[in-house]
């Protein structure tokens, strides 16, 4: 029987109690001094993966920077649900400018801090997949290329949720969105399109790129902390299910995230200066069908007759990821 060491965390997939963990392994969220940077009372939907991811990411960044953090936010769900005038859930200095410029605004903030001799204050930019892979891509690539001292966090829920679930360049093949309807001979989003942003980020040769899911929140925290140890452009791509847009039960957000990783559809890894440095292995590889079935955006694949050939193409994508990143130990 193959042996695999398992890392336990306070949160996420391998949860154990606090007392079983070394202090540095404990989640920032378990700490009484956590900053609640994205405070309760915001207007996110039940089971929102983005709210969960942002809460863990920003609190971890606050912890790593001694609470000296400024955030720039792209337009999108996170911006809208967190700051309905005159309320704000942000307990940190926070700015929203436009949909497509969060990375550039963050560059400006970082430049101002540097020129004022306050480089101990760090800068995070954050946005959804639309604000990152589509409309904000130019500014993001510019920030990467200049190696500006910014951590950019993309909360990827694979479509434009704020405007009502339209396709983005992060929408996976076959997924139904409002602009890739589940009708016609090839229902849902087309195959062979879309951007693999973590790999594009790596191609810029920036010091740090990582992916994470909200199923393994301690892993997300650890990656944010790692990113904050590094100067220059850094990128973390977080997989965040959207119960509303994907059509799954709101209590299934974590489960869906875990399935995305365990099927190989969403590889979880770290890379430095363009090279993969660590990979989160799949414990027990599952067929993609396990991931697709609970989501209504894929319901057209499981009707009568079932579109097994489409599921097989998605399985091929997962298998390719497994091979490319070595996600399963032989």
């Amino acid at each position: 029987m193959p042996f695999q060491s398992v890392k336990f965390y306070q949160t996420g997939t391998f949860t154990v109690g606090n007392r079983l963990l070394a202090p540095q392994e404990r989640s920032v969220q378990s700490n009484m001094r956590r900053t609640n940077s994205l405070n309760s009372g915001h207007r996110a939907c039940q089971g929102c993966g983005e709210a969960l991811g942002a809460r863990y990411a920003i609190d971890a960044a606050m912890d790593a920077t001694g609470n000296r953090l400024i955030a720039a936010n792209a337009t999108g769900c996170l911006e809208v649900f967190s700051t309905p005038y005159p309320e704000t859930s942000w307990q940190i200095p926070w700015i929203h400018s436009l949909f497509g410029n969060a990375a550039a605004v963050a560059t400006g903030i970082a430049a101002a801090l540097r020129v004022k001799g306050r480089s101990d204050t760090r800068v995070i930019a954050q946005g959804g997949d639309g604000g990152t892979t589509d409309i904000g891509f130019g500014c993001l690539s510019g920030m990467f290329e200049r190696n500006d001292d910014v951590l950019y966090v993309c909360y990827d829920n694979e479509a434009y949720m704020n405007t009502g679930v339209q396709r983005s360049s992060a929408t996976p093949p076959a997924a139904r969105t409002a602009t890739t309807a589940a009708v016609g001979p090839e229902p849902g989003n087309v195959f062979g399109q879309g951007k693999d942003l973590p790999r594009i980020a790596m191609a810029h040769g920036i010091p740090y790129v990582a992916t994470a899911t909200v199923a393994e929140l301690r892993d997300l925290e650890a990656k944010v902390c790692r990113a904050m140890e590094i100067r220059g452009a850094r990128y973390i791509h977080v997989f965040v299910p959207c119960p509303l847009g994907w059509g799954h039960a709101s209590e299934d957000t974590i489960r869906i995230s875990r399935l995305a990783k365990e099927t190989g559809l969403f590889p979880v890894f770290e890379a430095e200066h363009g090279e993969v440095t660590s990979v989160s292995k799949i414990r027990r590889k599952l067929p993609v069908e396990d991931y697709l079935r609970p989501q209504r955006r894929y319901a057209h694949l499981f009707g009568t007759p079932p579109r097994t050939e489409v599921v097989a193409r998605i399985q091929a994508i997962a298998d390719r990821n497994v091979k490319r990143y070595g996600l399963v130990d032989e």
Binding site: N67, I95, H96, S97, V105, G108, A110, A112, G142
Partner: protein
Amino acid sequence: MLKQIEGSRAVAAAVALCRPEVICAYPISPQTHIVEALGEAVKAGGLPHCEFINVESEFAAMSVAIGASAAGARAYTATASQGLLFMAEAVYNASGLGLPIVMTVANRAIGAPINIWNDHTDAMSQRDCGWIQLFAETNQEALDLHIQAFRLGEELSLPVMVCMDGFILTHAYERVDLPTQAQVDAWLPPFEPRQVLDPAEPVSIGAMVGPEAFMEVRYLAHAKQMRALELIPGWAEEFRRAFGRDTGGLTHTYRTEDAEVIVVALGSVLGTIKDTVDAMREGGTKIGVLGITCFRPWPSAAVRAALAGARRVVVLEKSLAVGLGGIVSSSVRISYPGSPAAVHTVIAGLGGRAITREALARVFAEAFAGTLPPLTFLDLDRALVERALAREREQRRSGPIAENILRDLGTVASRAG
């Protein structure tokens, strides 16, 4: 200190004297020499407390300036033409957020057809964006306006656009009086932001505002601009006392006291107009000039006062509101105390078409004779236009307009000036 330098270099020197902290640069003609000079100054160590950032687009340039300004830094950028349009969304955002960024616009035409030469279409397209818009007549004024712009913007927490005619000013070598660092330091206090991203006092900037308060937020932006109208004359006076030059302010009149016809214009063409007016005055013609330095906010009262005695008004403008006529003249009409019909629009200098004394004297004489139409296009080649229209009538697939016109004209290379 008097210097004979290029307009762009003069502006760069003025900006440097204002101790900018973040400068974002993206190349577009005819603005490039300004940021090149500033980049060189930063790289050579001449501006030790300044970050010079080469960005990937004008949209990024304004966005970086937004971030820098929100974090409390004095931010500057420069652009022109398509660049201003490309950053338009961020231009509105900067003023909406109340961030006192200063930006030079080296005025240039907007395509298509692509054209790198001067007119005011770019700045005019952003006239309602909430920025203060100042227009320079000379390189000296361009230099001075930048120094004033930082003070003006930072006191009001509003961004300021300093418009100077592309090539005509940016690329002209002429005499400028460059102030000393001590003079500028005495005039321009350090930037004290009204809002700043600071972990010690966290604020959320740029939150969503719904119907319950959006009107009020927009009204406050308007009120701030109205406040600028009250403050600008005093600041111009203060500047005159400190620097000895009557630059800036809302408007400038020239020989308007007994003028029956007053010509209204913005920017460098005012010089050619003044020379034309001097020549006509020698012949006994009672003509004067009103130069608009501050276009936004619109100095309605000052315009009204200046035009009160004029029988006719000729507004010479380097931009065309397609389907309407004049942009400046529309504003002038509401401020002119006489009949709106007495306000004539003359569209001139589009895409760098030279505006000559000869042509100006001709239209001004028509204004006196009462034969000037409500809307005129200075030096328009009417026959060329008629032939193009005829071609379009004759055949459905008449082809690309610009190419046809140039073929008809018999020129392949651009004929400027």
